[in-house]
């Protein structure tokens, strides 16, 4: 989190992490589509090669609050390919929350786990405590055959504390839920750490509700 007292701006960094081709960019694209146009920034994709993100995607969102603070939320993806580890590490710097986008296909178990281990290592390398990092797990690609069953996922999820969400990002389902859940856990964490409500009159509900409204309008506009 970055707080600029001069411009009264609060910037929160959320990172979408996960193995290659698990749908991180698709998530951002869907969020971008669902937001009503005036509140969203442009989705920027840095240097794509062979349809794969080489550096990151960046989606800025911002809105003013009653407290007079401007909240800026920056969504980043990391490049999933193993070789881009140094880029992942750099993008992860200063992250406030992480959405881990896993591939539901059963043959991707290893890739998911390897990427998650990589996340933990890179968080540690950046001086961030993985256990304290607000995290949401998304099981994406629910529309594909040979996927891990919902019951099984939920049974596994019950053993952890992170919200776990099923999604088909290409259809836009589960994308908002993931984002809102990530915002919830991240904000709760920031509130605990920085007492934003007490210090700046910036309430959790105000921020979450504000964003929810933007999406609501966006969804109406997009239509079914």
């Amino acid at each position: 989190m970055q707080l600029d007292f001069q411009t009264r701006e609060l910037t929160v960094k959320l990172v979408y992490y996960g193995p290659a081709l698990s749908g991180k960019t698709t998530n951002l694209q869907a969020i971008h589509r669902l937001l009503n146009p005036e509140g969203r920034g442009r989705l920027m994709t840095l240097e794509t090669r062979d349809d794969r993100t080489l550096f990151f995607d960046l989606l800025p969102l911002s809105f003013s609050t009653k407290s007079g603070l401007t909240v800026r939320i920056k969504l980043f993806t990391v490049p999933g390919q193993v070789i881009h580890n140094s880029t992942r590490k750099l993008v992860l710097q200063g992250a406030d929350g992480v959405a881990f986008i896993a591939d539901s296909q059963t043959q991707e178990v290893r890739a998911n786990q390897a990427s998650f281990k990589d996340l933990r290592k890179n968080l540690r390398d950046n001086g961030l405590d993985p256990a304290r990092m607000p995290l949401v797990i998304q099981y994406n690609k629910r529309d594909l055959p040979n996927i891990r069953g919902e019951e099984e996922i939920m049974r596994m999820a019950a053993k952890g504390k992170e919200p776990t969400i099923l999604a088909t990002a290409t259809h836009g389902t589960g994308v908002l839920e993931t984002f809102m859940a990530l915002l919830e856990v991240t904000w709760a964490h920031l509130e605990r750490e920085h007492a934003l409500d007490e210090r700046f009159g910036l309430s959790h509900t105000e921020v979450v509700e504000d964003l929810r409204k933007r999406f609501a309008r966006g969804t109406e506009a997009a239509g079914p």
């Binding site: 910037t11 960094k13 840095l46 911002s62 800026r72 750099l90």
Partner: protein, 470 residues
């Protein structure tokens, strides 16, 4: 995290218009606007720097500036306009002359990065100079003022808005592209630095491991040297006393005792030669072996080798022959070491050749180039691959042969093609390794031609004269 090069990557922000925009290109864009609409344009960054300025002094302005009071009032207006920082929408600032300025904010990613000042121009509904214009200076001539006003560019307010929106759109495109390029290059740079850091770390770890291995190797060599030395001392006594027993110094031996003593002596000698080989190899690996060069007759060396193995070859029923052309010249080599090379190779050949087979020892004059392997890419080949006179020795047998994939490894110390052959044929697997080291000490080369089941030829090529030291 305080690294200035990666700091802006944390949130992907850009702060300054100056960082993103090429002033020259911006000026050209503004120039084309000026050409299209006839409107003066100035672009300021948030810090107040003037990034582009395309304007012409207009008729009305020229007239105003020609009047003393008018010039002062005009300067005041210009200063006011420059001081305007619009929040989110265009600010329209009027001039006493009836003209207006539009000050348009440049907003990117919700940040005000600067502003565009368009004008002065006359709104299309203004037909005559306002009262303020006529009062600005005692010398104002209403007729001239009116004429000057009518010559000014005239724009409808809605059109002015559209022009501003268009200019903002163009700037936005430039900013977005610039922002992306800026982030990409910053990211690229940071990634390269991160990769470099990781590589440097890995190199340091490798260096550490390498140093450790080198130290271990040194300890191994020392250990070998010490142990071999300590083994040789009592062994020479064993051999010596066995010989004394054989000469009958300690009384006559029965036939059986003589046989036992003979076994003790020959096995002792075998052990001694093995230990000597170990010591040699050790010295060779440490580069401690001195080569003492003199003129050597290859034919004589081969004859000596044949002499050495003649009894053994005869016993095994192997034909051992020397072939050496009459024109084979003398060469510069260390005779002791050269003999050792050929003895090792010939011994090896005899060992792996079955009864009834043959082993040929050959020497001939050849021309060959002794170049480093790294020259194999042909770089400087015309110079470096020049052939020089050499002597080629061949030790050929028609024994069991060596598979192609083993051909390089057989020169490794203690290596035998398969564990089984060690037991069948004996030896510690040191002979070839020593031979290779000795050949290399002579700046020569050794290689193998072999066919499994049909025999092996070892080819040793040694320069007739050693190269000059570098």
């Amino acid at each position: 995290m305080s690294d200035p090069n990666t700091a802006d990557l944390h949130h992907g922000e850009i702060a300054n218009l100056e960082d993103l925009i090429d002033r020259e290109s911006l000026r050209e864009v503004c120039r084309s606007f000026f050409d299209l609409f006839g409107l003066s344009i100035r672009v300021f960054s948030a810090r107040g720097s003037l990034l582009a300025n395309v304007h012409e002094e207009r008729s009305l302005c020229r007239y105003v500036n020609s009047l003393g009071e008018g010039r002062i009032a005009c300067a005041a207006i210009v200063e006011e306009v420059q001081g305007i920082v619009p929040e989110a929408t265009t600010v329209v600032h009027p001039c006493f002359s009836g003209a207006v300025y539009h000050v348009v904010p440049i907003i990117y990613d919700d940040r005000r990065l600067g502003r565009i000042v368009i004008g002065p121009f006359i709104p299309s509904d203004v037909k005559a100079p306002p009262e303020a214009m006529l009062q600005i200076d005692p010398k104002v001539d209403p007729g001239r003022a009116r004429a000057a006003l009518l010559e000014m560019p005239r724009v409808r307010p809605a059109t002015a808005e559209r022009i501003a929106a268009h200019l903002r759109g163009v700037l936005d495109l430039i900013l977005f592209s610039g922002h992306r390029a800026h982030l990409t290059s910053a990211m690229h740079l940071a990634t390269v630095r991160e990769n470099y850091r990781e590589l440097a770390e890995r190199n340091a770890r490798l260096q550490e491991a390498y140093d450790k291995l080198k130290e271990l190797d040194r300890l191994k060599s020392n250990f070998l040297a010490t142990v071999s030395h300590e083994l040789r001392t009592p062994l020479t006594s064993i051999i010596g006393y066995s010989e004394m027993l054989q000469t009958g110094i300690a009384g006559d031996l029965s036939e059986e005792q003589a046989g036992f003593v003979e076994t003790i002596r020959t096995k002792g000698e075998l052990l001694l030669s093995l230990i000597t080989s170990l010591l040699d190899l050790n010295k060779l690996e440490r580069g401690q072996l001195n080569i003492e060069l003199e003129m050597v007759d290859p034919r004589a060396i081969l004859a000596e080798v044949r002499e050495t193995y003649h009894p053994e070859a005869e016993r095994k029923g192997i034909r051992l022959e020397v072939y050496c052309g009459d024109d084979t010249p003398y060469m510069q080599a260390d005779p002791v070491r050269l003999r050792q090379i050929l003895i090792n190779l010939a011994g090896n050949a005899i060992k792996f050749t079955p009864s009834g087979g043959r082993v040929d020892l050959e020497a001939m004059a050849v021309e060959t180039s002794f170049h480093d392997e790294e020259l194999d890419d042909g770089f400087g080949a015309a110079l470096m691959m020049a052939p020089e006179p050499a002597i080629e020795f061949r030790v050929r047998d028609n024994g069991i042969g060596i598979a192609e994939d083993q051909a390089e490894r057989i020169f490794d110390a203690f290596y035998q093609v398969d564990g089984g052959s060690t037991r069948e044929f004996g030896g510690a697997g040191l002979g070839l390794s020593i031979a290779k080291n000795l050949v290399e000490a002579h700046h020569g080369a050794i290689h193998i031609e072999s066919e499994l089941g049909h025999g092996t030829t070892f080819i040793v090529t040694i320069p007739q004269a050693p190269p000059d030291p570098d």
